[in-house]
């Protein structure tokens, strides 16, 4: 038995969101009588951090403390319409809708404060700490809470905003098939190092090195965590998971969770990540978000690394020991690819 090491590379140009129907997202923002703000969305948080990031975006656009903003994604029956949490569209589409809704609510908040302070709304600014003051005269101020109370009980005004984000719909050109699916792309490059056992066909991924360009990382820690977790899922899709191992034949497929393979804590792969921030022009505060891209480049990089290690080109996922061993047998033995010196 010999373990052959291999290295594989992949890079991707990744569309953020999709085009279907203009890919709309809506957001509604309103203040409660005590000056907190509620953001109502129908896009949901699957664990990727959408609630955290839309909360940050709303607080920034409103000019109020993060702690005073709540995001409610409870119910797509009663909330504003959204296409959903998929296609890596959350940060970009929903974030843009939130900025619009929050900006409209902010304008109303400033009008209400202006009425209380007897100045023009143009002369007012927020300090981000829960106060609204006259520009250049910070002592002439009113709290956001008092503004909301005045709006509610004195002025008879709501502090609320509506936001929708819609991209230019782009149809498919009937002659060329060309279309412009999205308005912005994220990017990634990823290197996988692994070992292949030429007797058992087993693969052990030993290291991942990656660089991701996600626009501005609106919440750097969440971005990093999403990339780490997503790469794990990429390894899982590349090497383990399937419901039909002999697709389209159902035989030998897992019948329940016990027989559905996934890597466990024992298969953690060290992963070094560089996040490159290139704020995108039409993205909320420049953030495109990682989305599904965090898993995607891992799969081709693993396939390339297996090829580099033993010379077997597997073009059906997952890359199981059986497929590798069959390939090695067809080739008459493992055929390790070229190594760069020192690798």
């Amino acid at each position: 038995m010999t373990r052959h090491s291999g290295r594989g590379f992949a890079c991707i140009n990744y569309p953020i969101g999709m085009n279907l129907g203009g890919d709309p997202a809506q957001a509604l923002v309103h203040s409660t009588p005590d000056g907190k703000f509620m953001v109502t969305l129908s896009a949901i948080d699957l664990g990727q951090g959408m609630k955290s990031v839309t909360r940050q975006i709303a607080a920034e656009a409103l000019g109020v403390p993060l702690a005073d903003v709540y995001v409610d994604t409870a119910d797509s029956d009663t909330g504003p319409h959204d296409m959903g949490s998929f296609a890596s569209r959350g940060t970009h589409r929903v974030g843009n809708a939130v900025i619009r809704a929050a900006s409209e609510a902010r304008a109303q908040m400033m009008e209400a404060a202006a009425e209380e302070l007897e100045v023009s709304a143009q002369d007012l600014d927020t300090d981000g700490a829960g106060n609204i003051h006259v520009k250049g005269a910070p002592s002439r101020q009113i709290t956001v809470a008092d503004t909301a109370i005045a709006a509610q009980f004195k002025q008879g005004r709501t502090l609320s905003g509506r936001g929708i984000f819609l991209i230019e719909p782009s149809g498919v050109d009937p002659d060329t098939g060309e279309m412009s699916p999205v308005t912005t792309y994220a990017h990634a490059a990823l290197i996988v190092d692994l070992d292949v056992d030429d007797e058992t066909g087993e693969v052990e991924v030993t290291q991942i090195n990656s660089a991701y360009e996600v626009g501005r990382a609106l919440n750097p820690k969440l971005v990093e965590q999403q990339l780490i977790g997503g790469a794990w899922m990429g390894v899982s899709h590349a090497l383990y998971e399937t419901t039909e191992p002999y697709y389209p034949d159902r035989s030998h497929g897992p019948e329940d969770f016990n027989t559905y393979l996934m890597p466990g804590p024992g298969e953690i792969v060290p992963h070094d990540i560089a996040v490159l921030e290139r704020p995108a022009a039409d993205a909320p505060y420049g953030g495109k978000g990682p989305g599904e891209m965090c898993a995607n480049p891992v799969l081709p990089a693993v396939a390339n690394a297996v090829y580099n290690a033993v010379g077997v080109r597997v073009d059906k996922l997952p890359i199981t020991p059986e497929k590798i061993l069959r390939g090695i047998r067809t080739n008459g033995g493992a055929r390790p690819g070229p190594r760069r010196p020192g690798v």
């Binding site: 664990g47 990727q48 969440l222 999403q226 899922m233 969770f257 992963h271």
Partner: protein, 160 residues
């Protein structure tokens, strides 16, 4: 269906419920005792989301007969915090971004709690071993392992 009375200690509280014949502990806790912290993941012992401690030892509540815990002491994630004060494990998970969707988290926390009670200074390998019966779809495990090691260090500091 005949009901059987069942008494046990749940997070330091004397608890009494009625269970159906053959009911599993996960259902008894969630429906009977109203403790929603153990999660139903697979219902067949694969994922660890339903992990609770029985007399300090981690058990998969989906595979445990409810009646087997009569008179015993159980701990779940609902009892980890002391009032508003989070348990060091919860704090480490929060600060280390060790929960994304959070579905695996209660099981991870219980497995970790049992580990630290038995072995306050675990190695990285021992942490991995301790949570090897718990699946996580989101995090890639690394932040969970790191958070448990962090919490162990904090608890050691407190004990010293």
């Amino acid at each position: 269906m005949p009901k059987t009375p069942l008494a046990f200690t749940l997070n330091d509280a004397e608890t009494g419920i009625f269970v159906d014949d053959g009911q599993n502990l996960l259902e008894a806790l969630r429906r009977g005792a109203g403790d929603l912290s153990p999660k139903y993941g697979c219902g067949q012992g694969t994922c660890g989301a339903c992990t609770v401690l029985i007399d300090g030892v981690p058990h998969l509540s989906c595979l445990t007969l409810a009646e087997a815990v009569a008179g015993r002491r159980m701990d779940t994630t609902a009892g980890l915090a002391e009032g508003a004060e989070l348990h060091p494990l919860q704090r480490a998970f929060m600060e280390g971004f060790a929960a994304q969707c959070g579905y695996c988290t209660p099981g991870m926390l219980m497995a970790a709690k049992a580990l630290l009670a038995a072995n306050p200074r675990p190695s990285r390998e021992e942490v991995i071993e301790a949570i090897s019966g718990n699946l996580c779809r989101c995090t890639g495990y690394e932040p969970i392992v790191t958070a448990i090691l962090e919490a162990a260090a904090k608890l050691q500091g407190r004990a010293a």
